[in-house]
């Protein structure tokens, strides 16, 4: 008798399960989003720096310009900004650049002397979008540089791994 009850229960269960299967069907589609690497940097400002004064008995005074900014967006991790100039500075003349770290990410390397080789100015930048980091340029010259005519340098900033 117990076996009969079990069989009847199994029959009812099978019918119930099959009834559910009768009344449903499934369709699907795919959603795909390809997030590509974004590493964008844009610099504003064309500073003019003139070394023209000195305290008697000392080297000429360094001049500073802090009106430039850089805008950075990256969705990557541990990026860095490097800076370089297109041609070397004259002897006894030094051009430095100081770039502030974007808000909440990265470490400024302070004021870095610019050469024709790329130098790190900010490191450890991850997942950031900031248009406000300040760029400061500092120009200095020793008396040995003598009197120089106006010259120009192009500073290249690169956001990379």
């Amino acid at each position: 008798m117990k076996r009969l009850k079990f069989l009847l229960l199994a029959a009812a269960l099978a019918l119930a399960l099959n009834r559910t299967a009768l009344g449903a069907d499934v369709g699907t589609h795919l959603m795909t989003f390809d997030f590509q690497a974004i590493n964008e940097i844009e610099v504003t400002g064309s500073p003019i720096l003139t070394v023209a004064s000195a305290v008697a008995g000392e080297q000429p005074q360094e001049v500073t310009d802090s009106l430039s900014t850089c805008a950075i967006t990256t969705n990557g991790a541990n990026k860095r900004i490097t800076a370089s100039i297109d041609t070397a500075m004259p002897a006894y003349v030094t051009l430095k650049v100081c770039v502030a770290a974007p808000s909440g990410s990265g470490t400024s390397q302070g004021c870095v002397t610019l050469t024709t080789s790329a130098s790190n100015v900010v490191t450890g930048i991850s997942h950031v979008a900031d248009s406000s980091p300040t760029i400061t340029y500092k120009l200095s010259a020793d008396v040995q540089a003598g009197v120089l005519s106006t010259d120009a340098r192009t500073v290249t900033f690169t956001l990379s791994d």
Partner: protein, 163 residues
């Protein structure tokens, strides 16, 4: 006598286990279309220094749904929806919205954006056979906080015969 009852029940049940379900399925759903987007620097809100736009919306008829095999115009059904992630970010939120009634039977509900989660949730309902119900898709939550990769999820539309 006991033997004959047991034999009878076994013979009764056997076909239910061995006949394919599709042979019985009287209501069916066909989903046509996929959606893919490439998100790159052109999607920045205002170039370098700005974030990505957070929301992306597909064409209004990105996906089309057909319901077939109903037993007449009054045979009611409901569409439930859920997602199953392949590679996905918890920051990303997919939404669906019905943008047309299609042709044939009756359709109601689902005309505002509804987030698709991992749990089956009623989307819209209707009755009778309907062809060409258009669905628009939306993604929110995109930002530069999401690391570069290809993210995909599969949306499951289940039609349930409710009458």
């Amino acid at each position: 006598m006991r033997f004959s009852i047991r034999t009878f029940i076994i013979f009764l049940l056997a076909p239910l286990f061995f006949v394919p379900k599709t042979a019985y399925a009287d209501i069916s759903i066909t989903v046509i279309g996929n959606w893919s987007e490439t998100i790159d620097k052109n999607d920045l809100l205002s170039g370098a220094g700005s974030d990505l736009q957070s929301t992306y919306t597909s064409a209004s008829g990105q996906v089309s749904i057909d319901i077939r095999g109903t037993k007449g115009i009054n045979d009611a059904w409901r569409i439930d929806i859920r997602k199953v992630d392949n590679n996905w970010s918890n920051n990303l939120h997919p939404y669906v919205m019905r943008t047309s009634d299609g042709k044939g039977g009756r359709v109601s509900g689902g005309t505002s954006y509804q987030e698709v989660t991992d749990i089956n949730t009623p989307f819209f309902s209707g009755s009778g056979m309907v062809k060409g119900i258009n669905i628009q898709l939306r993604l929110t939550g995109a930002s530069i906080q999401i690391r570069p990769s290809s993210y995909s999820t599969v949306l499951y539309y289940t039609v349930v015969d409710i009458q």
